[in-house]
Amino acid sequence: MADVAHLRLTHVTKRFGSTAAVDDVSFEVPRGSFATLLGPSGCGKTTTLRMIAGFYDPDIGDIELGGRRINNLPAHRRGAAMVFQDYALFPHMTVSDNVGYGLRLQRKSKADITTKVEDTLKFVGLTGLGDRQPNQLSGGQQQRVAVARALVVEPEILLLDEPLSNLDAKLRESLRWELRALQQRLGMTFVYVTHDQDEALSLSDWVAVMNAGKVEQAGAPWEIYYHPRTAFLADFVGAVNLVPSTVREVSDGTAIVSVGSTNAPVRVPADLSLTSGAQVRLCIRPESLALRSPTAAADGQVMVPGTVARKAFLGDLMRYWVTVEGREWIVDQPDPGAAMPHDGAVQIAIRPERIHLIAEAVS
């Protein structure tokens, strides 16, 4: 049967001294997918990537690429090309020589190399810049050269280590779409490392959020964003309200939980087993909430009365901080120009199906 996992890590651990940089990490990346390791600095995401590349040896565990165990394969034979944060272009070579370097190592013919280099430069939108020195290019162009240099060798897998983080915000975003489009055209497996949750969510088919050397949760961006398993995850991938709550009763996959002074019926996540009286957190994204006047009717939603403490105009939305029983909630209102801003006493309108439950951390 076809093994769909292109890259597989099984119980991989890497220690530096007494600290485990990567601690018993296992995951599978399907062939042809854009996979992202997301996490704060020091979470072990880059170490994991470097073990896949072969720059570090795992202390324990197996790394398999295309069904083959590659632990003992030297880095230069793995077919895992890498794109670096600082581009790592060879400063003494022209753009063409940089891109052609991997082909020269493969002892391709001169004519072959020239054609392939030109094609690849065209592919990444750098036609005509082959004779430049890397330091004559802008940051964005340098990163395209780095991507071209890695792609031209037709690697088994492409590894990208925060490739966009040295670029300014605008360029970062446009290159993001280019990378995604490139990956989809090639159908190649990309493993991407970043600390930027927007990047991770918008680029990836699959995201693994790492913290303190462990994978906290892995899955589709949608899953991670709306159904995080822990408070850390919920907070890390975007602004969120994490409201303490008590389970009133559980029946048939639905829990009745307290929301302020009222109750709401919420679907229980499959991996969570709840009993009546358990402490949970309600995880609600600010954009899932709406503000209503204090007198507005419930209209099938759960209404929580509160007071606007402060607000910030962010252009595409208005962000409110609303005090509810001594606790601040964040509520985002889209298209702020469409109505007068709210102030003073308000009601927060919650649709129960937008509430996700997280178990209260035991420790």
Partner: protein
Amino acid sequence: MRREPVLLLALLAAIGLVAAFIVYPQIQVVLVPGPDGYVAFLSGGTWVKPLLNSLQVTVLSTTTAVVLGFVFAYAMVYTPIPWKPFFRIIGILPLLSPPFVVAAVYVLLFGPRGIISYGVFGLSPSVFGLLGIWGVQTIAFFPFAYQLIADVLSRSDPRLEQAARNLGAGPWSVFRSVTLPLSGPGLGAAILTTAIYVLEDFGNPALIGGGFNVLPTQAYTLIEGFGDFTGAAAVSTILLLLALSLYFAKTRLDRGRSFVTVGGKASSMPRPPVPPMLTRACFVACCALAGVILLVYGTLIVSALTLYFPTNMSFTLDHFEYLGAHATSLQNSFVYSMLAAIGCSAFALFAGFVVQRGSWPGRRIFDFLLIMPAAVPGIFFGIGYLTAFNQPWSDQLAELFGQRDLRAQLIVIALLFWNIPVAYQAIVVGLRQIDRSIDEAATSLGASSLRGFRDVLVPMLGGSVQVGFVTTFVRAVTTLSVVIFLFTPRSTTATITIFQLVNDFDWGGAAAFTVGDVGMAVIVLVIIGRLGGRLAVTGFRGG
């Protein structure tokens, strides 16, 4: 690395070379006398006088050389004196010539028939001994002190000094409260390095020491005069211990230096102005020192071009014709030094790579062994090679290759490994400035470590290679002490010839050879400098 057998083999070969040519000869010297030999030697007491002499002259000459070097460096770095390019060349010139040139000129000027002492004052003073050595070493080594101190001073951040001035401190106050505390460790290291140069100086005391023996000359006399290997080995072991302790004191200070170089390159901000009086005083001092250097080299050139300096001043090219007829030694110097510089650069590249980029057990020891020759006096190094390799088996080896002896090869190897520290450290510093992602990029594209090293790192290390190459070449053409025990008439070098000619009172010939030797160093330096686009002058040392 363990997955790359070629790299592993190359590393083992490098370790083998270091063991054979750095560790083995030195251990040989230390072990030659044996316990009984040391007891007999130490109780004999012949070493006490040279030891005291060495200490005395090192303290005296280092102090004066450092004071003069400091004045010169301060003037160059801090004051807006005119003629700086000229003074810079004056500061480099002595680094390109054998230090004992100063001693030779000193005799010509102030000796019993010296042009100044006899010619002007009609005196025939006895110039040999402590005072002579002191004076000569001061002049010979102040340019070294200048280079080291100027390097330290120029790293002191002008922004901090401007800030101090801005807060109301006067020039003297800034110097005392900001510059000196920041540069203190660096200056200390510069002083100790100068002291090592002076301690290890063989040529000057050998030429004008007279009965005043220091440790290096004592070792030489014991071997050449009495064939006393045991004694010479013991004396040079004492010398080695002194040099090593100075060296370790220096490395301790170097470690404390790191905070001076915060921010790496000095900013382009100008230094705060100094009082005009001070600038004028500095200018006068620099002119005086430049005058002395010019006097030395001027005398050299004049005596190379006159019949019998100073008694017969008629112009002649005889000495250069003599040089032309006996050019073997100059040619040898060039060939040996070139080969040593090439070999040294190549070896340093590889060694720097495996130490800086690798992670293997024993890496630290390997690193230490490569830096160690910097603390080993040339005379000790030479005796080491003599005791280790002047063996029956080396004659058999020579026969095998159809050679009369392997001395030429031995000299090249000795020069190569004696100069490894500068070349090696330059590579390590260079590699530190290249991010590892560059190597990893090559690896991830399919290059083995060695291939990536060759294709990517080596081309990027041009500047570092240049420093190592030039320094090795210059030190190799100017050293006397390393080769003095190794040469044979066929494999003699320019410095040996100069030394012999001076001892035979053939001043004209010696001067002509010195001009040839220095000229060779200058030409190579300029060519390499042109190739690489900049002059690399730090790290030179005579010996």
